[in-house]
């Protein structure tokens, strides 16, 4: 009987510290990577400004959340930020569309090489980073309200009698649910609507799409709008889960790129797979397994060290190593992406 309890405790431990955080972080990365992969598929460049697009959208959401909170408006148990999201999305759409009109469109019409777009996106990154820091400052901002937990560790322990608790934060639950809904909507759009099919066609074979009468300006516009929606929601969910700090979003760029490339760049399903691959590798490699083995092994075999493969500070290294391995072994990604 004790052996069974130990096993259950070990499983709960893994659920609590690996599975649940991995799922929610993976969903955030997947949504971010989808934006990168869509821009890559349609506009054919690696968008370095994507992290800062996320930061911008989140910032607007944070500001509107504060305003709503000051007016005493809330969503009850749910975070007020959900109510503020549409405003964040709208302004982010405005930002990316204005950026496209003023920066990228010129290079598109001049048929510039992808590298030029990429360097231009660095300029855009600087500018939006400056705006975000100017408006909200470089520091940590909290904007989470409502219930904290769906399941709290204490309640879980009381209910099950186990010595390990399982806690699921509301922000984690929301992240996973919203990600599933968004991805379902996106795939419905790409596969069932006229514009979505035109986007896929354009990404697949630009010249032939033009010969079929697809309007490139419209496709690009729609792509930016979707990217802005995904970026704002991904950024807000990440901010609710952790906290909002402009610099963190710049750092998210690397795991998001890794996710997009690992999955197969330009391929939306690949971006999702890549997001979870990267997130779970990060969480699993940096988790200290000592306690799990304490439950699983007899006392005499208990491990001495923390059994942590890498310190948590190296989580970027994890995404990078996976990225390099995939590039070496299978440059097109897990699911075949583009090799431009």
């Amino acid at each position: 009987m004790e052996a069974v309890t130990d096993l259950v405790n070990a499983v709960v431990l893994l659920l609590n510290f690996v599975i649940v955080p991995g799922l929610s972080y993976g969903s955030q990365l997947a949504l971010g990577a989808l934006g990168i992969t869509l821009v890559f598929g349609i506009l054919r460049f690696a968008n370095f400004a994507h992290g800062d697009t996320m930061a911008f959208g989140t910032m607007i959401t944070v500001l509107v959340t504060w305003w709503l909170q000051s007016k005493g408006i809330s969503l009850g148990p749910l975070p007020t930020a959900l109510l503020a999201l549409p405003a964040g999305i709208l302004l982010t759409i405005a930002l990316v569309v204005i950026t496209d009109r003023s920066v990228y469109r010129y290079y598109r019409h001049a048929k510039a090489v992808p590298v030029t777009f990429m360097i231009a996106s660095m300029g855009v990154m600087f500018m939006s980073n400056g705006i975000v820091r100017f408006v909200i400052g470089p520091n940590d901002q909290r904007f989470l309200d409502g219930e904290r937990f769906i399941v709290s560790a204490r309640e879980f322990k009381a209910a099950t009698g186990l010595s390990e608790g399982l806690s699921i934060k509301l922000s984690q639950g929301l992240t996973i649910v919203i990600a599933i809904i968004l991805v379902a909507l996106l795939f419905w759009f790409l596969h069932k609507t006229r514009t979505g099919k035109a986007m896929r066609a354009y990404s697949d074979n630009e010249d032939l799409a033009l010969l079929s009468g697809v309007d490139p300006d419209r496709i690009v516009l729609v792509t930016w709008i979707i990217t802005a929606i995904l970026a704002t929601i991904a950024g807000t969910l990440y901010g609710l889960d952790k906290s909002f700090k402009p610099f963190t979003y710049l750092q998210l760029l690397l795991p998001m790129f890794a996710a997009a490339i690992v999955g197969g760049i330009g391929n939306p399903i690949g971006a999702i797979v890549g997001g979870y691959v990267i997130a779970f590798s990060e969480v699993m490699v940096t988790y200290a397994y000592k306690k799990v083995f304490v439950y699983l092994l007899p006392q005499s075999l208990e491990p001495e060290g923390l059994l942590q493969l890498l310190s948590t500070d190296y989580k970027f290294a994890v995404s990078f190593v996976i990225l390099v391995l995939v590039l070496l072994v299978r440059p097109t990604g897990i699911l075949r992406g583009k090799l431009l």
């Binding site: 099919k197 697949d204 010249d207 032939l208 799409a209 033009l210 009468g213």
Partner: protein, 234 residues
């Protein structure tokens, strides 16, 4: 006055002129073939008709109207369809979706056209849910032609449709193209396999260095000893 008519076209892709005054035209319910040696400007002539290069001189008219100033997209909307030589299907989309993309500019019900396409190319009905990228070369060419036909064009332009397919598949493709002509469509194609192409052609244009060398009916060109000697290998 021909249906689609390119007259005295001069131009190229920025550098030296590739077309030095060539004229191509095609009528409804007729197959016209452009043949000639490598580098003669066959594909370029077709691209000029479609508006894909800057023309210095000459004009293109369609249904008696000057369309020289229209963009390729606008010409397609007018009823000209084009099948490029390579990359002519959406490889990551199903056959059915390829057909849908062909009808992208149409607002009406396309199910009837799709049925006609399936009758013309029965294999596509079987493979409709398969990705176009997974098909064999000959099947892909059928998808490519079918995609172009989905817009119900008045003129169908084909750039070397039989390049890289086996002789059996080539014969089958030519049979299909003859059937397409039956529906009243004007077909204009560039062909490397000059003999077989002229065989099914109502009219042929032999281009050399960007100019018309011979223009006559397909049968007459095949019979012309000079054409035979110079371009058909005896």
């Amino acid at each position: 006055m021909s249906f689609l008519n390119g007259e005295n076209m001069v131009g190229g892709y920025g550098g030296a002129d590739i077309l030095k005054g060539c004229s191509i035209d095609v009528n409804e319910g007729e197959i016209a073939v452009i043949v000639g040696p490598n580098g003669a400007g066959k594909s370029t002539a077709m691209r000029a008709l479609l508006g894909m290069l800057e023309m210095k001189e000459g004009m293109v008219s369609f249904r008696g109207r000057d369309i020289s100033k229209l963009s390729p997209q606008d010409r397609i909307a007018e009823g000209i369809a084009f099948v490029p030589q390579t990359s002519n299907v959406f490889t990551s989309m199903t056959v059915f979706e390829n057909l849908e993309m062909g009808a992208f500019l149409r607002d009406d019900d396309i199910s009837e056209t799709i049925e006609q396409i399936y009758q013309l190319f029965p294999i596509l009905a079987d493979k409709k849910d398969q990705l176009a990228g997974e098909l064999s070369g000959g099947q892909r060419q059928q998808v490519a032609v079918a995609r172009a036909l989905m817009s119900q064009p008045a003129v169908l332009m084909l750039d070397e449709p039989t390049a890289g397919v086996s002789p059996i598949v080539m014969d089958e493709l030519f049979d299909r193209i003859l059937e397409v002509r039956q529906t009243g469509v004007a077909v204009l194609m560039v062909e490397q396999n000059a003999r077989q192409a002229l065989d099914i052609a109502d009219r042929g244009f032999v281009l050399v260095i960007g100019e018309n060398r011979h223009t006559d009916s397909g049968a007459a060109l095949l019979a012309d000893p000079e054409v035979r000697r110079s371009f058909l290998g005896g």
